[in-house]
């Protein structure tokens, strides 16, 4: 009997110990110190470079600021009201949405197309795999200069081809509408390398036997693509979609170098407007307000994507 009791108490002890550990009580003081020690560096860096600017930005959006960026008068939500009644800002937002929509869709579709092509077992496909992913190694400034040349109205490749085909020549970067087109094309080209690479990786990881089973069942190539490939790579597609979308909202470099928001503000996207308001116009309060709005927009879109797509991509 005694032995049994002893056993019981031992197991009870173990149980108690386990539950304490799992709940997180009973961690001794010096454990906490260790935890802080390990977390310290990243907490410090995050605080200085992320948390503080974030909070400061939100705070400043409720004030008016002087030319040095010092808050002067508390105005509550007035900055937000001004923003949403400004037609220039609303135009910027509209342009941004158009830009984001086209960039996201084109990047994903073209990336998938390239990835599918690179997955074929043709001779010399290795060259194309490298070529397709090569834009990953190109910096924004180089890409911008490259595309400035291509879209150059007099010596650019696009207009040379247009001339050759007897099509009208366009001032790509200075004509409203076409400037947006040029920016979208350049951005998609920039994004393509990364998107191609992760989608290619995803395609490679689909087991070959799934396609073999499909071939034996006698389903068409089209059916295989939409009913096997797409669902199998959907988690990666989802990831790529979110990354591309967020990236597109944050586009700055190409716009700054290629159009500087012009012509006539048609490519003045949200981030570029923030930059202009803060550092060219010196209106820090307004720039802060725009930053907060942009952050909220990106958060909302990300949440929507998660809500609608997440269910379909987990299997």
């Amino acid at each position: 009997m005694e032995q049994v009791d002893q056993k019981k108490s031992l197991s009870q002890q173990l149980h108690d110990k386990a539950s304490k550990i799992s709940i997180g009580y009973d961690i001794e003081a010096h454990d906490k110190h260790y935890a802080l020690l390990f977390l310290g560096p990243s907490l410090l860096i995050l605080s200085v470079f992320v948390f503080y600017p974030m909070i400061k930005t939100v705070w400043m959006s409720f004030f008016l600021t002087n030319s040095l960026g010092k808050p002067t008068v508390f105005v509550g939500l007035q900055n937000y009201i001004d923003l949403f009644t400004s037609s220039a800002y609303l135009n910027s937002m509209k342009a941004t949405f158009i830009y984001v929509l086209f960039v996201s869709i084109l990047t994903i579709v073209l990336g998938l197309l390239l990835a599918q092509t690179a997955s074929s077992k043709l001779k010399g496909i290795g060259f194309f795999r490298t070529a397709f992913s090569s834009t990953m190694g190109v910096s924004v400034s180089v890409a911008a200069i490259f595309w400035l040349f291509i879209f150059n109205p007099s010596v650019g490749l696009v207009n040379k081809i247009a001339e050759f085909l007897h099509l009208p020549v366009v001032n790509w970067l200075t004509q409203p509408g076409w400037a947006m087109f040029a920016i979208i094309v350049s951005t998609v080209w920039m994004n393509l390398g990364f998107t191609f690479l992760i989608l290619f990786g995803a395609l490679q990881s689909v087991p070959v036997t799934l396609y073999e089973a499909a071939r034996i069942a006698g389903v068409s190539k089209r059916y295989q693509f939409f009913n096997i490939t797409i669902p199998m790579i959907s988690p990666t597609l989802f990831f790529a979609a979110i990354i591309t979308l967020i990236d597109a909202f944050k586009s700055f470099g190409l716009i700054d170098m290629m159009t500087a928001g012009g012509p006539n503000n048609t490519t003045n996207l949200l981030v570029y407007r923030i930059y202009q308001d803060a550092f060219l116009n010196g209106n820090y309060a307004l720039a802060s307000t725009e930053s907060v709005v942009l952050a909220i927009i990106i958060a909302v879109f990300t949440l929507i994507q998660f809500k609608f797509l997440e269910k379909k991509v987990t299997y």
């Binding site: 089973a213 499909a214 071939r215 034996i216 069942a217 006698g218 059916y223 299997y315």
Partner: protein, 374 residues
Amino acid sequence: MTIELKNIGKSYDGNSWTLNGITTEIESGEFFAIVGPSGCGKSTLLRMIAGLISISEGKIEIDGKDVTNLPPQDRNLTMVFQNYALFPFLSVRDNVAFGLKEHKMDAEEIKRRVDEALDMVNLTEYGDRKPRDLSGGQRQRVAVARAIASDAEICLMDEPLSNLDAQLRGKMRSEIRMLQQKLGLTMIYVTHDQVEAMTMADRIMVLHDSKIQQIGTPLEIYNHPANTFVAEFFGTPRMNLLEATYDARLNKLVVDESLEFDCEDGMDRDDYIVGVRPSGFSVEKAADRSNARVVNAEYLGNMSIVELELDGGDEIRVTVDDEMNHDWMINQRMLVKPQGIFYIFDKTGKLFAKGGSSNGTSRSEEEFVATAAR
């Protein structure tokens, strides 16, 4: 449905053959196993029969019709894969029904087939689950159910049990065999596991070095292995292969001076290989003489596997089933004698003759003493 393979060959680079000269006929309703070590081309052969990869040479006929250049779906066959090839995003039902909808089959018929197939593999109540919610064995059954639902008369299986644990494998072996019999399927079953082939198949094709080594019933393969490869591949533990010299004066095959085998007629060369199954030896502790030393002993319960080193240097594996097994001592001296059947292969490994008798020791005690004394 009969399947005829006529001199099938596969070469990827045009120089070397992955498979060469594969010719056989698989009867309707037969369970035909293709066995061989990894890399022998057995999966390649199966995929060529399925039409998933092209054939470099030869012809495949199904029921007399040349299907060599037909796509997989026109060959009236189905296939079960090693990794089951289930679609993780589809429910069990949809997995089983995969492909049927594409063929414009009406919903009633699909439902009937899926219900029937799931019932046959005892998964009726799992229809709405996703593959990830199933155990390995259940996933395997879904794959089998899909094969059943396709209604094809030929079923190809590519190592379907190798991802399962030993116990489940044994159970699925008999289940698959029973289903095959019940449905009258013509089954081509690829495996590297000789036990699966032996226990399930009507006939076995042994592949090695891109070529057929032997085709036969399990009994033929085991009792009359065509060569040393087949002899070693079938049976656990492996058959012992010992180099032996023909002694014309004694008319014996000598492995080393204390271990000899009777000769068969027509021996003329000097060198042979003697094959002895682990059960083909008698081992005993003899007070006055010995010819081997125990190197290792594995006690398995119903028997023991004892490794011995013959005085001539050869190592042999012997199964012994007497009560004394568990106290086989390492380095203990033993007396090893042939007992029963052995095989004589020529130097190239081809079976030359089967020797010995199945009833008891083939050599008398006196003979042994005589040779040992020499």
